[in-house]
Symmetry: C2
């Protein structure tokens, strides 16, 4: 279990080739015990963008703030606050900030490799105080 404000999760640069003005927070990841997929937040500066690329996993996205375009081989689709986006596996894509404020969106992806479920030791739990 985890409850945290997004600003308390580290904001890291996106070093991927083709990215500009892009930062990421890994809000929920394998290290949290998430067995199937991860939740990240991207923060893109005005004029910035993620890499134009493709991969064999999908994106599920929710825009929290700002204005941008989703670029695919079919062109540009504008989006903004409270828009939901789904990008199919293997689709060329990137996200550009077309506004004057920071563009923020959640981006969920499946784990590349499944998490091996850890054994839980009840004596390591704070509620197990009898030993």
């Amino acid at each position: 279990m985890k409850v945290v404000h997004y600003e308390d999760v580290e904001l890291e640069p996106v070093y991927a080739e083709g990215a500009e003005g892009s930062q990421i927070r890994w809000l929920i990841a394998q290290k949290d015990g998430a067995p199937n997929f991860a939740m990240r937040m991207f923060e893109i500066a005005p004029g910035g963008h993620t890499p134009y690329h493709q991969h064999d996993w999908e994106h599920e996205l929710y825009c929290l703030a700002g204005k941008g375009v989703l670029v695919t081989e079919k062109g540009e689709t504008a989006f903004g606050e409270n828009d939901v986006m789904f990008v199919d596996p293997n689709m060329m894509h990137n996200f550009k900030n077309t506004g004057t404020d920071t563009l923020k969106f959640l981006c969920m992806i499946p784990h590349e490799k499944p998490v091996v479920k850890k054994t839980v030791n009840p004596f390591a739990d704070e509620t197990a105080n009898n030993c």
Copy 2:
């Protein structure tokens, strides 16, 4: 690919036993071709709550508006706008609106059954106009 404002996705009652004042929007689901997990938005009226229950899949959540508590066997944890939550598989839990406005949060879950990838017919695509 899908780009849609969340308000353009149908808001449906949550009929599950133990739910009160709870509605759901299935923002991204298997019908959209999502292969691994679904994105839903819950809207809980003041005083309302989801069922107190457990299941063998996890929740990954992001609070968009309002105030609430996450109830587990360990007690109540308050949360609000822009808080991130992870609920482990098999953990007893529910979400209560403790504020005066509608509580809105995203809740992602893995599909219960994997999606069988459909064969894509290129002649059904709008860019394939040569036949």
